[in-house]
């Protein structure tokens, strides 16, 4: 059974290193790009099978994956993603303030069985605090389910079991009180609710008297915000960078609105997290990330459970998709390289309404699915290595300068020449400067953290220099990942919340044409695109 599943998963893995390198990407061969809005999962599948859509991303249901893998008209792609599902614990309360109990819990949850039973093998058991695709992930050496070892660890630390099999804390007479594990309801999140039940079973096997408490998701988040819980389960969509570590585990984030929900407060961990956050370069960042994760394996403030694969399906007749172990073909690179013998229109499924096509305020993944092919950034991510690659910036240099006895990061970007906005005006360093300054001045929530430390921006010819008030390697990704907006558009914009449709102008391979709410978004090939 296990071998069959492994084989099934490996058959879906994309061939490595066969796609065209990024340098070979050219102007798209697709003339018209339609994002078709189909919300229902079954309707999405029927549309793909009926040839009404060419690309369907984010396929999650096991039955759908199985059905599509038997369909010769489509090709399925699978990639490790940034999804991570955790069992969270409240370290402010007994018994979760005891490290040995959390360490035993790590061994007592059978992640492999959960993945097998709930996802039919189409997910990864998670043994790390960062998602599997992140280049900074350090995987734990202890990665197997071992209930015997978990019990033995507790016994050695003085824990006992009552006649009913409930754990008794060292130095206490009474068994542990009954606890609750918060979970969204099965109606809203069936797999999460099922996994929560399974985790509770594992915990009860260890002697922890716990039951699930299903509730509305917003109510659950409110309980977490109030820190009114024993344990909970939650899924996160994290990123390539290890920035979630600081947010989840630094003591300064154990405040209202902060994400240190478990309430871990350890001076050595704080110190390591600060080294990570304020690392001067990538080498320092890697070292610090490793140290943080080593400490986390000792403290275990939450227990990683599983990570979902990203699975997408593409009609077979389209050739040249760019996919890797980390990226399914639903990406901008694929749109530059996909070609078809006789079709020039491409239909990509959008699973939700893109209610807001303003890059300054758009927040959902569906909105960015559209915007990311219109707007570009200074840097991009190599889909094969996950390294930074030059995009609107041809090159960059990161320096640490000393000013007034304080170390500051200064990044110098060489801006690509010959790039034009979709309205025909030239793109240059002054546009980048205008974008950064506009975002900082307007204190736009989405970009607040990315630009808050920017001290000075200077543009001269095709060189842009950004000086920050502090020192951090991550400033490169924060600035390098900003969507670039035209200085002309920004200068006439009175309110950042209201970007007229005619001002949706980027440098990307497709330009905005029409949005028919509830139906589709149509983009046209950008004939002025800088890749020839």
């Amino acid at each position: 059974m296990g071998l069959a599943l492994l084989l099934a998963v490996s058959l879906l893995l994309p061939p490595q290193g066969k796609a065209a390198p990024l340098d070979e990407l050219r102007r798209p061969s697709i003339d018209e790009l339609y994002f078709l809005i189909i919300r229902d999962n079954d309707a999405q599948l029927l549309a793909l099978e009926g040839g009404q859509i060419d690309l369907l991303g984010d396929i999650a249901r096991f039955s759908d994956i199985k059905r599509l893998s038997d369909d010769e008209r489509v090709k399925l792609y699978l990639a490790e993603g940034y999804h991570a599902f955790f069992l969270g614990l409240n370290l402010r309360r007994s018994p979760w303030d005891r490290a040995e109990l959390r360490q035993s819990l790590w061994e007592a949850v059978n992640r492999r069985q959960i993945v097998r039973d709930v996802f039919g093998g189409y997910a990864l058991p998670l043994f790390s605090f960062l998602p599997p695709a992140s280049p900074y992930t350090l995987v734990a050496s202890t990665s197997d389910f071992n209930m015997k070892a978990a019990r033995e660890r507790l016994r050695q630390k003085g824990w006992r079991w009552s006649k009913r099999g409930v754990l008794i804390c060292p130095g206490e007479d009474k068994p542990l009180p009954k606890m609750k594990l918060l979970t969204p309801t099965a109606q809203v999140a069936p797999t999460t609710a099922e996994i929560a039940e399974r985790i509770c079973e594992s915990m009860r096997s260890l002697g922890i008297p716990i039951e699930t408490e299903p509730m509305d998701f917003s109510m659950m988040v409110a309980r977490l915000d109030r820190r009114d819980f024993d344990a909970y389960v939650i899924a996160w969509e994290l990123s390539r960078d290890p920035d979630s570590l600081y947010a989840f585990y630094h003591s300064s984030m154990d405040v209202p609105g902060g994400y240190n929900i478990s309430g871990i407060r350890k001076p050595d961990l704080d110190e390591a997290l600060e080294s990570l956050k304020y690392a001067a370069n990538e080498a320092e960042a890697r070292l610090a990330a490793e140290k943080v994760q080593t400490l986390l394996y000792e403290y275990i403030p939450q227990v990683p459970i599983y990570s979902r694969y990203h699975i997408a399906a593409l009609q077979n007749e389209w050739q040249g998709a760019i996919a890797s172990l980390y990226m399914t073909p639903d990406n901008t690179y694929s749109l530059l390289s996909l070609r078809h013998e006789n079709k020039k229109a491409f239909y990509w499924c959008l699973a939700e309404e893109p209610r807001n096509l303003n890059p300054l305020s758009a927040s959902s993944a569906y909105e960015w699915q559209v915007l990311s092919v219109i707007y570009e950034s200074l840097l991009a991510v190599d889909p094969f290595t996950l390294e930074d690659v030059p995009w609107l910036a041809e090159s960059w240099r990161l320096d640490t300068v000393s000013k007034g006895g304080k170390e500051k990061t200064r990044i110098t970007f060489k801006i690509r020449e010959g790039v034009k906005w979709q309205d025909g005006s030239p793109f240059g360093a002054s546009d980048v400067k205008a974008t950064i300054e506009f975002l900082k001045k307007s204190a736009i929530p989405r970009y607040f953290d990315s630009v808050k430390d920017v001290e000075r921006v200077e543009a001269a010819d095709n060189t842009l220099t950004v000086t920050f008030s502090g020192k951090s390697y991550w400033y490169l990704h924060q600035i390098g990942g900003l969507p670039m907006l035209s200085a002309g558009v920004l200068s006439s914009l009175k309110d950042w919340r209201r970007l007229p449709e005619e001002d949706i102008i980027g440098t990307g391979p497709f330009s905005f044409s029409k949005y028919k709410p509830g139906e589709y978004v149509k983009l046209d090939k950008n004939e002025l695109y800088w890749r020839k």
Binding site: L36, Y259, R355
Partner: protein
């Protein structure tokens, strides 16, 4: 005449009071709900400071009394403010969705009511015969099937296996050119969702009307009408049905506000851009302006429909007369 004026004045005043209560509840209940609009924003890249900026941009950093007066002003002027989730004017979002919802639910309600009523009357007329058994059985089946199941089966059969109807949306992509082509395209897209709702909805009407008619047909005045030698159709429609009509009209008008609230499942299955999903997302996402506006509109329509039901009563029920009250 004075009695008439006093009656309508009282009805209008009580309706205004209902709207005032709904307006206040709309404001306070949403704020009493656990969590705030940033709660659904689960992103570790969003620092607590950035979340504060977000609340500030929503105007939620202002005192509650100030927020309340702004809200009342927005509702009374039908401006509704900016949606927290989309950052677009709420009226714009509603205006985009309302036509689709009305186009889906109003014909569906009308057709269900007409078909159900005709079948109900036919069942009552043919009591004990095959007609009644067929109506009772089909009504019970229509009434008891879950909507998502019926709609998915219809979609699978008539849009996939036998692709007579489109799979999704209310328009072809790219849309056809020309007014008539667009009209036909729209009708083609709406046919299956409307048919599914009629299929699911006629049963309750048929059973309800049948029960009403069976009761009325057993009354003495029907016996008298028959004894007078009136034709059966005249007895059925002119006497029995007219007597049964007021409760049917009431139910119809009370169903109308549902047309505004939309049908979440139908809109999701057929990928229709309607109010139902918008309302659900707004409530779950603590989008106060959007949810507040939608509930306010629904309460307005409910109040207006109740008033309309009262007006229509005076026409359909000869026993109601203000003169007699005096």
């Amino acid at each position: 005449m004075n009695t008439l004026n006093n009656y309508w004045l009282r009805r209008v005043l009580s309706s205004l009071l209902v709207i005032a209560v709904v307006l206040s509840l709309n404001f306070f209940l949403f704020r009493l709900m656990p969590g705030d609009p940033t709660g659904s924003l689960l992103d570790p890249r969003f620092s607590p400071e950035a979340k504060q900026e977000l609340l500030k941009s929503y105007g939620l950093d202002k005192p509650l009394s100030q927020q309340f007066f702004m809200y009342v002003k927005q509702m009374l002027t039908f401006r509704f403010g900016i949606s927290f989730m989309s950052q677009r004017p709420v009226w714009q979002e509603l205006a985009e969705r309302l036509p689709n919802t009305l186009l889906l639910l109003f014909p569906a309600l009308l057709l269900s009511a007409v078909l159900g009523t005709l079948l109900g009357v036919a069942a009552a007329k043919g009591r004990g015969r095959l007609t009644e058994k067929a109506v009772l059985l089909s009504g019970a089946i229509s009434f008891s099937f879950p909507s998502f199941f019926v709609q998915l089966v219809l979609l699978l059969l008539l849009a996939h296996a036998f692709p007579i109807f489109p799979l999704r949306g209310s328009l072809s992509v790219p849309p056809p050119t020309g007014f008539w082509n667009l009209l036909v395209d729209r009708a083609w897209h709406m046919a299956l969702p409307i048919a599914s709702l009629v299929l699911l909805g006629f049963g309750s009407w048929a059973l309800y009307v049948r029960n009403l008619m069976v009761k009325v047909l057993g009354e003495d005045f029907i016996l008298l009408a028959r004894a007078k030698g009136l034709r059966e159709n005249e007895v059925l429609w002119g006497h029995a049905f007219r007597t049964a009509l007021p409760p049917i009209v009431t139910i119809f008008f009370l169903s109308l506000p549902g047309v505004i609230s939309g049908a979440v499942i139908t809109e999701t299955v057929f990928s229709l851009h309607g109010i139902g999903k918008f309302l659900l997302d707004s409530v779950l996402g603590h989008d106060y302006p959007a949810a507040g506006a939608a509930f306010y509109l629904m309460s307005l329509v409910t109040v207006i429909c109740n008033l309309l039901a009262d007006v229509v009563y005076t026409f359909v029920d000869p026993r109601i007369s203000f003169r007699r009250l005096r």
